[in-house]
């Protein structure tokens, strides 16, 4: 019984940590989809570039990882805005073209990183080294930082959306682009700012997660699948849905690892199966608007 008690605690802690990472990524993705109907497949590629940026600042230039974070977040946000202006904005009205265009963008980023850094596995040191033990479960300070950072960022995002004029504009645009435009909001500008916030979130995720992961040009793929699953599960465009969906899949993964040790490689598949089951019961996702209603 004692072991089972520990296992529940293990699952709770691992689930919270997994879920926070997915939440950070999924909310950024969901935000730009909700506001501008942009399915940005390159979202996790920005997270990958942020990781490489931090690696360069720490390993090549010799600065503390905090400096790397401070450099990476604005730099990647700027890169995101440039990409938006050059590649996404001109084709924004064609959703399928945006989808394919952002896939191409992500692969281009991957190939560029592969040429520069090769496929070698790289890493950066933790912002806060070491771990603490809670009820017998070892937790890295970096994992705790990720969890806290995710909650702070999500809180800040909520404040931005609910308590500022920009937030009002974003919400209005997400609600109905045409009406928002008629009410005098510069819909294109709102979309661009939202893209900045979204990519900034991806860069921030890269910054807090990079010390816990392995950096390589393909590191964007697995999070992309999980992030898409979270967003679909939570309901396309729903920030609340992304938040809840992220923790559901995070806990599902943790449960697989602890309850089926020999099948821990199946954690992604199990999480995706949960998504499919939910969609079969509720096609619009947990907090999404039903497709019929949207039409």
């Amino acid at each position: 019984m004692r072991v089972r008690g520990f296992m529940v605690l293990d699952i709770i802690i691992a689930g919270l940590i997994n879920g926070s990472t997915y939440a950070l990524l999924a909310i950024g993705f969901s935000l730009i989809f909700g506001v501008a109907r942009i399915v940005n497949i390159a979202h996790t590629a920005f997270y990958m570039i942020a990781s490489f940026c931090i690696f360069v600042v720490t390993h090549k230039l010799g600065y503390h990882p905090t400096v790397g974070m401070l450099v990476a977040i604005p730099l990647i946000t700027l890169l995101g805005l440039i990409c938006y202006k050059l590649f996404i904005d001109p084709i924004r009205e064609h959703e399928a073209a945006v989808l394919i265009g952002t896939i191409a963008l992500a692969i281009a980023f991957q190939e560029i990183m592969l040429i520069i850094f090769t496929g070698d596995y790289l890493s950066v040191p933790a912002l806060i080294k070491g771990f603490f033990t809670i009820f017998g479960v070892k937790v890295f300070y970096q994992q705790l930082l990720t969890l806290v950072a995710a909650l702070i960022i999500l809180g800040a995002l909520r404040l931005l959306l609910m308590n500022t004029k920009l937030g009002l504009a974003i919400r209005s645009t997400a609600e109905d682009r045409e009406i928002a435009n008629l009410m005098g909001m510069n819909e294109s500008r709102v979309a661009m700012i939202t893209m900045g916030v979204s990519v900034g979130l991806a860069a921030f995720t890269g910054a807090v997660v990079v010390p816990l992961t392995i950096i390589n040009p393909f590191m964007w793929m697995h999070p992309l699948i999980m992030m898409m699953a979270v967003v679909v599960l939570g309901g396309m465009g729903s920030i609340k849905g992304s938040f809840v969906g992220a923790y559901i899949l995070g806990f599902a993964e943790a449960m697989v690892v602890f309850l089926i040790p020999m099948g821990s490689f199946l954690k992604g598949s199990v999480a995706l199966s949960i998504m499919i089951i939910v969609l079969l019961i509720r096609p619009e996702g947990l907090f999404g608007i039903s497709f019929e209603e949207e039409r």
Binding site: A14, G119, F140, M262, F265
Partner: protein, 438 residues
């Protein structure tokens, strides 16, 4: 009128000679295709080893084929096999049709090499595998010798032999820990990535470990690209296992070693961890990979024979790193292909295969011999054992990768002891001593 006609005829003839004659000039080179994931360490090893071999052979005038000397020309092919086995087969197809290579060396992922092998066999080209282990690659010869006889295993051993060596390493480390820390019943956690070559090894480990007087504490299988294995590590610690038997070839080897080090998991890691074979492992694990032990082909300072040191010194000088096992393209070319071509005096694969099949030769890793199956059918598998090649057990000690096995190792009670020059004693990780010292 006659003179311009003659002039025209001469010009046309000259042009014909120049165009048709070019392949004749080109035939003075032996083209060797080097195929591998070139953006990754494994592919770089393939290319570096082959480059060194080609340069050394060309510097001494080339390869004597009958009456003429032929230079070696390498053709690089990026198989991209980590991401797409289809890319690998396309790369092999191009090597054989567009580049028209005479021989192929390289390959890494068994899944991709099995497919690449088919193409090389279609074109009846000798393909020396220098990366993939799966036994099926060689067992195909037993099923259809005429088709697959052009395949030879350069490195590594098949999964059964890899398993056997790993179990010897596990037994060695287990015995040291048992004796030093006085633990009567040692628990072993098996942690293996999910991959085709791993599954038979897990089954074998579950059977062998109890026979070695140890207990299997559990089996964990994270994905090859897992970046967070804290859940697995927590579970292993709960299982109270002082030894972790690892079977990793991918990036999970870094995540696992790093997080185990950071969480101070009191367990010695032994087995296969391909990432731990590389010079950059300690940096990739942020210094947490100390005391990890893995099977390896080379280690700085360890000599199998008189060929090891010159090869290692030249490789390190040239490329600034210790060779990984895929750099055995060097031996495949310089000690296998070239002497056989010179002996046969031809590039005809059908004349080279019988010689390669029977020949024993010395390489920097030991004596290379091709094996047959239990029924005596040639399968061109790499022979393992004392007197031939044995590979090494290496451990990260104080930031350096050192050779720790074979150290006074006996293959059988009556067999002679084997210790290579430069081998040092194994060190138990301090976290294990701290937890289990009575």
């Amino acid at each position: 009128m006659k003179r311009p006609m003659i002039l025209m005829t001469v010009l046309v003839a000259l042009l014909l000679v120049m165009t048709i004659g070019t392949p004749v000039l080109g035939a003075d080179t032996i083209k060797i295709g080097v195929i591998g994931p070139m953006q990754f360490v494994q592919g770089k090893g393939h290319w570096n080893g082959a480059t060194m071999a080609a340069e050394q052979i060309n510097a001494r005038g080339g390869v004597k084929v009958g009456d003429k000397k032929m230079k070696i020309e390498l053709v690089k092919a990026d198989s991209n096999e980590f991401l797409s086995p289809t890319d690998a087969t396309n790369a092999m197809e191009l090597l054989l049709t567009r580049d028209k290579v005479d021989f192929v060396v390289g390959g890494f992922r068994s899944e991709a090499v099995l497919a690449m092998q088919e193409i090389a066999m279609d074109y009846k080209k000798i393909f020396i595998g220098c990366g993939a282990s799966h036994s099926q690659l060689c067992l195909r010869l037993a099923e259809d010798y005429e088709r697959y006889k052009y395949w030879f295993k350069g490195t590594p051993y098949n999964e059964k032999i890899l398993g056997k060596i790993s179990f010897i390493h596990l037994g060695t480390v287990g015995a040291i820990i048992k004796k030093t820390l006085n633990i009567p019943q040692l628990k072993v956690a098996i942690v293996a990535e999910k991959a085709m070559w791993v599954d038979p090894m897990i089954e074998a480990a579950k059977g062998v470990i109890p026979k070695m007087g140890m207990e299997v504490a559990g089996v964990w299988q994270p994905s090859q690209a897992a970046t967070d294995v804290t859940a697995e590590l927590t579970a292993i610690q709960r299982a109270d296992a002082p030894v972790i038997f690892t079977i990793f070839s991918a990036s999970v080897g870094i995540s696992f070693a790093r997080q185990a080090g950071e969480l101070k998991i009191p367990a010695a890691q032994v087995g296969i961890n391909v990432e731990a074979q590389k010079d950059g492992f300690l940096e990739a694990t942020q210094g947490m990979g100390n005391y990890v032990m893995t099977m390896n082909t080379y280690a700085r300072g360890v000599e199998f024979n008189e060929l090891t040191k010159p090869f290692m010194d030249e490789y390190i000088k040239r490329f600034g790193e210790t060779p990984t096992y895929t750099a055995d393209t060097y031996s495949a070319i310089i000690y296998n292909l070239v002497p056989v071509i010179e002996q046969a005096g031809t590039l005809d694969p059908d004349k080279l295969v019988p010689i390669m099949e029977k020949r024993e030769f010395k390489a920097p890793t030991g004596i290379i011999k091709m094996e047959s199956d239990a029924e005596g059918r040639p399968i061109h598998e790499l022979h393992w054992g004392p007197g031939y090649t044995t590979s090494l057990g290496v451990q990260w000690q104080d930031g350096k990768l050192v050779g720790v096995w074979p150290n006074k190792w006996k293959a059988a009670p009556e067999a002679p002891e084997v210790t290579y020059k430069g081998i040092v004693p194994y060190k138990i990780p301090p976290a294990v001593i701290e937890k289990y010292k009575k």
